[in-house]
């Protein structure tokens, strides 16, 4: 009897947990006001800069604009159908939108977390149309099947702004804001070329731990890096997927260390988590990596934890994938409000991080790039 009671109590606790769980993950919350973030103003977006003074100025600017907007009583209503909350990057992306489109800034944001369910996302967008919102932001879970619902948006006269991932089968949206993954891959390749020249490394034998097969980040980064590798005649020994996870990176690197023992001098991980895993595996294989060691470790994403490892001299260079799309979206909205035609594709400003020793001059398609030195301040400011 006692045991029965215990199991009943335990299940009651679990049910309570479930209810709580559903309550907060089940979408449709209007976000409370939040502090305006760095670089949120139109001007800051148009001319991104890392100087704190500018950001502060920009913040003051937003505050003023927001005050104006609120004074005018023109609250702009926005619906945002987000993919889900599967990674730190995604959380940063969500937070960016919630911060920029806050009530203080004169916005009313309806945020829907679609939990990686594309049908739910279509429903969310239809809901936005019914509510008659001013603008709709979509981070499409899948790239196809959008034409019908985007036509409905067009008929309702609601401009749609697509962020991060792309829509392939319809062009009925005002603008797309996101990262150019191929540029990230090209940047990694061009950097490696310059770094190798500086350090007198003649031969490049690279191992690639790629992201989830078919993800746009994986395709872009692989293509970009491979383009440079082909041009320079580098050897890419192998490319296997680590699924963007630390455990995946560990397993793949563990195997690489045995298959290509002593034959590689570059490891390219397509996100920071994979790089963390690759480091553990290389530690266990006795392979030394990082600036000044045998193996050059390249990573993408540049999240806080990744930059800490750059600072600690483990990752040689880290190429950012900027999750803070909201300031750029705000700029697009401002253009639309003013009756201007925004650019169809807006690429976000991204940074390439390294320690001073690994900072070299390089250019992509003739365009000179500046690298950012990783300091404690830079890490603290990162998402």
């Amino acid at each position: 009897m006692k045991k029965k009671l215990l199991s009943l109590v335990l299940s009651a606790v679990m049910v309570a947990g479930l209810v709580a769980g559903c309550g907060s993950s089940a979408s449709q919350t209007t976000e409370p006001a939040a502090e305006p973030t760095e670089a949120a103003a139109t001007e800051a977006a148009a001319e991104p800069t890392e100087e704190v003074a500018d950001v502060e100025a920009a913040e003051a600017e937003i505050a003023k604009e927001a005050a104006d907007a609120v004074a005018d009583g023109e609250t702009i209503t926005i619906g945002f159908a987000q993919v889900g909350h599967e990674s730190d990057w995604r959380t940063a992306s969500t937070k960016s939108c919630q911060d920029v489109f806050s009530a203080d800034n004169g916005y009313d944001l309806t945020f829907v977390d679609c939990d990686n369910d594309s049908a739910a996302q279509l429903e969310a967008v239809r809901g936005f149309i019914e509510q008659g919102l001013d603008y709709i932001i979509i981070d499409p879970i899948v790239s196809t099947g959008w034409d019908t619902v985007l036509t409905e948006c067009e008929d309702a006269g609601i401009p749609v702004i697509v962020i991060d991932r792309t829509i392939d089968d319809s062009d009925k949206y005002a603008a797309w804001v996101g990262s150019n993954f191929k540029t990230e891959g090209l940047a990694a390749g061009e950097w490696l070329k310059a770094y190798a020249e500086k350090n007198g490394i003649k031969e490049i034998n690279a191992l690639v731990i790629s992201g989830t097969t078919g993800a746009s980040a994986q395709i872009g980064r692989s293509d970009g890096f491979k383009e440079i590798a082909d041009r320079e005649g580098w050897t890419i020994l192998d490319e296997q997927t680590g699924d963007f996870t630390e455990e995946g990176g560990q397993q793949v690197m563990e195997s690489y260390c045995k298959s290509y023992d002593g034959k590689f001098n570059v490891v390219v991980c397509q996100n920071d988590n994979e790089a963390f895993g690759a480091m553990t595996a290389m530690d266990n294989a006795g392979v030394k990596y990082g600036p000044g060691n045998d193996v050059i470790l390249i990573s993408f994403d540049a999240c806080t934890a990744g930059l800490e490892d750059v600072k600690a001299g483990k990752i040689t260079a880290d190429f950012e994938c900027n999750p803070l799309a909201a300031p750029f979206v705000e700029e697009v909205i401002a253009q639309l409000a003013a009756g201007e035609e925004p650019e169809k594709e807006v690429y976000m400003e991204e940074h390439w991080y390294a320690l001073p020793d690994a900072i070299v001059d390089f250019s992509i398609d003739g365009e000179a790039q500046t690298m950012t030195e990783v300091t404690d301040d830079v890490i603290a400011a990162q998402y």
């Binding site: 029965k4 199991s7 335990l10 559903c22 993950s25 490319e239 195997s255 045995k258 963390f276 266990n284």
Partner: protein
């Protein structure tokens, strides 16, 4: 004549050995590597060589692909233990184990780092609190599943579907939607090394030993099988069928907690979205590859464990062969189909008939 009979006797024994097919499957998978290595001009046995290797962080460790299989296969082996018991007692599967792994790991890391902290080098509470919390959370989920299945009579698949979808989400809530990094060497121990041996191997061995000893030294194993074969008859015979089913789910949940702890310790973080993802499928597959019927009743624990390592052997082999990753799932599927097919009753029956016919022809 005598030696001939002895030989025949030995052959029948081998033929009737329940682990024959699982073991043959495992050997076949590994044999692929010998063929590949020989064809590419490497030492044909290089896949099997275990050596001592100097690391930069953990001293000298055992090193080799076989160690990788044993190490990486630990979680699925641990899960397969609980899954075997659940399948046997209730003729159903616990599909929540992967999510429960994630929840346990998240709960543990949340306590160790403190709520809302996304990265820490210092532990907020003693390590043992976190470890016990992970095990407790696993057992709690197991108890929840067990109550639904045993006392409320809900279909196992439906009952465990609840935590399958909810546990991971609760874990995310506990971690504030972030990956919680516990970058502390003491936490990394469970996924690291004990002397030269990877700790997960030791943990898996301990779990296997505990279950094996409990089943052999007590009548628990018999009870579970009899409940699985006919729970009504077992109840009339004086067994508390419900309690036994409840217990198997509790054990399964507890082991999911252990597996979650090991998996999260490997990456010294709680990656709620990815820890234990699809592990429930591997655990169920391990039980099936081990020659167990998913219809409940009689079970063979050793078979499930061999099944678990077979799955890892396939993965490690595909890595070693350098099969491009977009094709790897196809190869995995083909291998699994072959293994399952040779163990299917009609095919087994066909071969038995063939050999009988041969025997008749000889006579």
């Amino acid at each position: 004549m005598n030696t001939d009979r002895k030989k025949a006797h030995f052959l029948t024994k081998v033929k009737n050995w329940p682990l024959l097919l699982p073991v043959v499957s495992l050997i076949l998978v590994m044999a692929v590597n010998i063929v590949h290595d020989a064809a590419t001009g490497v030492n044909p046995l290089s896949f099997f060589i275990i050596s001592l290797n100097e690391t930069t962080s953990n001293g000298t460790i055992l090193y080799g692909r076989i160690i990788d299989i044993l190490n990486r296969g630990s979680e699925v082996a641990i899960l397969a233990l609980g899954m075997t018991l659940v399948v046997s007692s209730s003729a159903g599967t616990d599909i929540s184990v992967g999510s429960v792994m994630s929840l346990s790991a998240s709960f543990c890391c949340m306590l160790l780092a403190g709520y809302g902290v996304s990265s820490t080098n210092e532990l907020a509470v003693p390590l043992v609190v976190g470890v016990l919390a992970a095990l407790f959370m696993g057992a709690l989920c197991g108890a929840f599943n067990g109550t639904l299945v045993a006392y409320l009579g809900i279909q196992p698949m439906v009952a465990t579907l609840i935590l399958f979808s909810a546990a991971r989400a609760i874990g995310l809530l506990l971690c504030n939607d972030l990956i919680v990094y516990v970058r502390n060497d003491s936490y990394g121990y469970f996924g690291g090394f004990t002397g030269p041996i990877p700790t997960p191997i030791i943990i898996a061995a301990i779990c296997i030993a505990i279950v094996a000893i409990t089943l052999n030294k007590t009548s628990m194993g018999m009870y579970i099988q009899s409940v699985g074969i006919n729970s009504k008859a077992s109840r009339i015979a004086g067994l508390n069928s419900k309690r036994i089913i409840f217990l198997t789910y509790l054990i399964c949940g507890l082991f999911a907690g252990v597996a979650g702890l090991v998996n999260s310790s490997r990456i010294t973080s709680a990656d709620s979205n990815n820890i234990g993802l699809y592990y429930e499928m591997d655990a169920i597959l391990a039980v099936a590859l081990g020659g167990n019927s998913l219809g409940g009743g009689k079970f063979n624990l050793a078979g499930s464990i061999i099944g678990a390592y077979t799955i890892q052997a396939i993965t490690t082999t595909l890595y070693a062969l350098g099969v491009s990753t977009d094709q790897a799932p196809v190869f995995k599927a083909i291998i699994v189909i072959i293994i399952v097919a040779i163990q299917a009753p009609p095919i087994k029956a066909y071969f038995r008939k063939k050999s009988l016919e041969k025997g008749v022809a000889k006579a």
